[in-house]
């Protein structure tokens, strides 16, 4: 490994990478983890081989993550204690939901509250589920994660402290959504949390999940969240992720969702704040007649860097996927989008659509966007498009010519551009909540 590194002509990069890497491996060796030891050891072996993704790494070219992580964290520390007394400030009160709270990566029984019947929905600490839900966990845990292709996913598999297990039995429509709150308490010192989720929707079941991460305090937070979702036959998952943490927050999310025959998936990721956020969303369509919509919106300012890497992998014929990500960059913020569509040789009659549209509001903001289509089947319909530009001047003039001031006109156009992605959200209360966040960010006052 060291020999390989010597090839790079950047000696200081090598040092940085090496330091984090050895610190992390040390941390793995020093901590004891009660469960999932085999997968942990495989994952750390993979990590030992690859190390952190450097600037030359194709998947991290625009996201200089090493430097930021090296500067801000002591990698030997895990499990920062918390004195959080209430999860209330982070709650979405509008939602009548099952609430799962994780504090610094640990499942908090104190702050969590499950209101659905146990026959409808199992929710518990993932660590506990290794005992109490052994057979389901053994069937699905770490089966689809990308911990042997992505360094951060590997780190999560090796180092996860705790997390959430969600299981919906056959033919059950869970009426109340599940709200997962990650709260990282960085009041006294830095937090490194590797949190893990396993969700399984059995045949014909239906679930809506809202996931939100926050931090308190000003110390740096590194939140590495990996989740695996299995949507079995005819099941339906609605998934919304909200990233609105103005703390000193570095976040990596690795979401892998596997769909079986006739299943349905809607995802929506709203990103408003964060020092550095990298979302890996991998959707594996491993069934026929599946439908999959994934939407994203990033409204950035300050010095935020937000990187959405999505993959949809059509492995079976006759499915439909539709992706729409939109972004507005202001200040010195930076957006990155990479959307891969794979259509495997026998995934005939696939319909796959992708679009990524961006508006740069300031001269000092930027976006790097890249669609990547790899299609091996010949009878498919696929399209993609990405745009980046400024506000439409003709539209601005039209609004102003009717007496609408410049600031309002700008807010109207940005809001109209952004709010389109809310259309597919079914839960009206959630939609209203998201709409308010967007309106506030875009200074909507009309």
């Amino acid at each position: 490994m060291i020999g390989l590194k010597m090839k790079w002509p950047l000696p200081d990069m090598t040092t940085i990478t090496k330091n984090i890497k050895s610190e992390i491996i040390e941390s793995y060796q020093q901590h004891s983890f009660d469960v999932a030891e085999e997968s942990r050891s495989k994952a750390i072996t993979f990590f030992e081989k690859t190390g952190m993704p450097g600037n030359k790494h194709e998947e991290y070219r625009f996201t200089p993550i090493n430097k930021k992580l090296e500067q801000n964290f002591n990698w030997n520390k895990l499990n920062t204690p918390s004195t959080l007394s209430s999860a209330d400030p982070y709650m979405i009160h509008e939602l009548d939901a099952n609430v799962v709270v994780l504090v610094n990566g640990a499942y908090s029984k104190l702050h969590s509250k499950i209101i659905s019947l146990e026959s409808e929905l199992s929710v518990c600490s993932l660590k506990d589920a290794f005992q109490s839900k052994k057979s389901v966990v053994e069937t699905y845990f770490n089966k689809i994660s990308n911990s042997e292709s992505d360094a951060f996913a590997a780190l999560n598999t090796a180092l996860w402290q705790d997390g959430v297990f969600i299981h919906v039995p056959e033919n059950t429509n869970v009426e109340k959504p599940v709200l997962i709150l990650h709260i990282n308490d960085a009041n006294s010192e830095q937090v490194i949390s590797h949190t893990r989720l396993l969700g399984v929707l059995e045949k014909g079941s239906q679930l809506s999940v809202v996931e939100k991460s926050d931090s308190s305090g000003t110390q740096p937070v590194f939140h590495n969240f990996s989740e695996e979702w299995v949507i079995t036959e005819k099941a339906h998952l609605e998934y919304c992720k909200i990233q609105n943490d103005s703390g000193n927050n570095y976040q990596i999310t690795n979401t892998v969702i596997q769909q079986h025959d006739h299943s349905m998936l809607n995802t929506f990721i709203l990103t408003l704040d964060g020092q550095l956020i990298r979302n890996n969303l991998n959707i594996i369509i491993d069934g026929e007649n599946c439908e999959s919509h994934f939407y994203g919106l990033y409204l950035l300012n300050g010095t935020s860097l937000v990187d959405n890497h999505t993959v949809v992998d059509h492995r079976k014929p006759n499915s439909f996927s539709n992706e729409m990500y939109k972004g507005i960059m202001d200040g010195n913020s930076k957006g990155v989008f990479n959307g891969k569509i794979f259509v495997r040789p026998h995934a005939q009659k696939t319909n796959a659509f992708q679009s990524n549209r961006n508006i740069l509001v300031s001269d000092t903001s930027s976006i790097n966007t890249k669609p990547q289509l790899e299609i091996w089947a010949d009878d498919v319909k696929c399209s993609h498009g990405c745009t980046s530009g400024q506000l439409d001047e003709e539209a601005m003039f039209y609004l102003r010519s009717r007496g609408i001031g410049e600031a309002t006109a700008k807010a109207m156009l940005l809001y109209a551009f952004a709010s389109e992605v809310l259309a597919p959200i079914q839960n009206e209360k959630l939609k209203t909540y998201l709409d308010q966040l967007i309106a506030e960010r875009l200074d909507k006052n009309f």
């Binding site: 003039f397 102003r400 010519s401 009717r402 007496g403 001031g405 109207m412 156009l413 109209a416 009309f446």
Partner: protein
């Protein structure tokens, strides 16, 4: 109401207006005609404050104010309305929300209270009738997927809502069939009174059969080369623009 003196303007490096003089009083309808490329639309754009055009000389006074110093929104708030030749489609903004915002910002500028939702809807229903426009159209995104006729009717609807002192109709007849033309013209005529004025910019006479002008001006090479009464429009219709071009060439 409006006094234009020796107005000159260019877009990019191209000089388009070469000294326009025009005076419009309350209660009057003026038609600006002329061949393609004569500067008709440029004049309308300069008056409404489009930023692509650079005024290189002359002055424009509107109700005692220097119009050229005002931002487009302030011109609208002072009472200028331009009906666009090509109304813009704006996905995600409904006409209703757009009009409510516009109307209330204009009212605020004039020191009036914002209209509440009920009064706004009442006003809207009343003005919808003028241009025979359906509410379902107004609930939709502004002009998105509208036919040519629907877009132009929407322009006149907006004009009815904002009650401008000076309306500038920029080629409002282009792309309209005869029924749509009648509806649009009726709307304009109903809004006309002794306190407001209208400038109709058009290439053809046919709109002027419906909106009868008090004065007709012929624009050619960025100047008004001939002015007259409504009969001038008829003369242009039968003789074309060549005789004007010849007259200018001789002079």
């Amino acid at each position: 109401m409006l006094t234009i003196k020796n107005l000159q303007a260019k877009v990019g490096d191209k000089q388009i207006l070469n000294g326009i003089d025009l005076k419009v009083n309350a209660g009057e309808v003026h038609a600006i005609m002329g061949p393609n490329g004569s500067g008709k639309s440029t004049l309308a754009s300069v008056l409404s404050g489009r930023e692509d055009y650079e005024v290189t000389g002359g002055e424009v006074e509107f109700l005692g104010k220097n119009l050229l110093e005002l931002a487009p929104e302030d011109r609208a708030r002072e009472g200028i309305f331009m009906a666009f030749q090509y109304p813009v489609e704006i996905p995600g903004v409904s006409t209703i929300n757009f009009m409510k915002t516009a109307l209330n910002q204009i009212r605020e500028y004039r020191g009036l209270q914002a209209l509440d939702a009920v009064s706004f809807l009442q006003l809207m229903k009343e003005r919808m009738k003028l241009v025979e426009i359906d509410q379902s159209l107004l609930n939709r995104s502004l002009n998105e997927g509208f036919s040519g006729g629907e877009k132009k009717r929407n322009e006149i609807f907006q004009m009815a809502m904002l009650e401008p002192k000076l309306a500038i109709l920029d080629e409002t007849d282009s792309g309209l069939d005869i029924d749509a033309l009648r509806i649009v013209a009726n709307g304009v005529n109903k809004l006309k009174n002794k306190n407001n004025a209208t400038i109709v910019v058009t290439h053809y006479q046919r709109l002027l059969d419906h909106i009868v002008p008090d004065y007709v001006h012929v624009l050619y090479k960025g100047k008004i080369v001939k002015s007259g009464g409504k009969e001038l429009a008829l003369e242009l219709e039968s003789k074309g623009y060549d005789w004007i071009k010849n007259e200018v060439a001789v002079a």
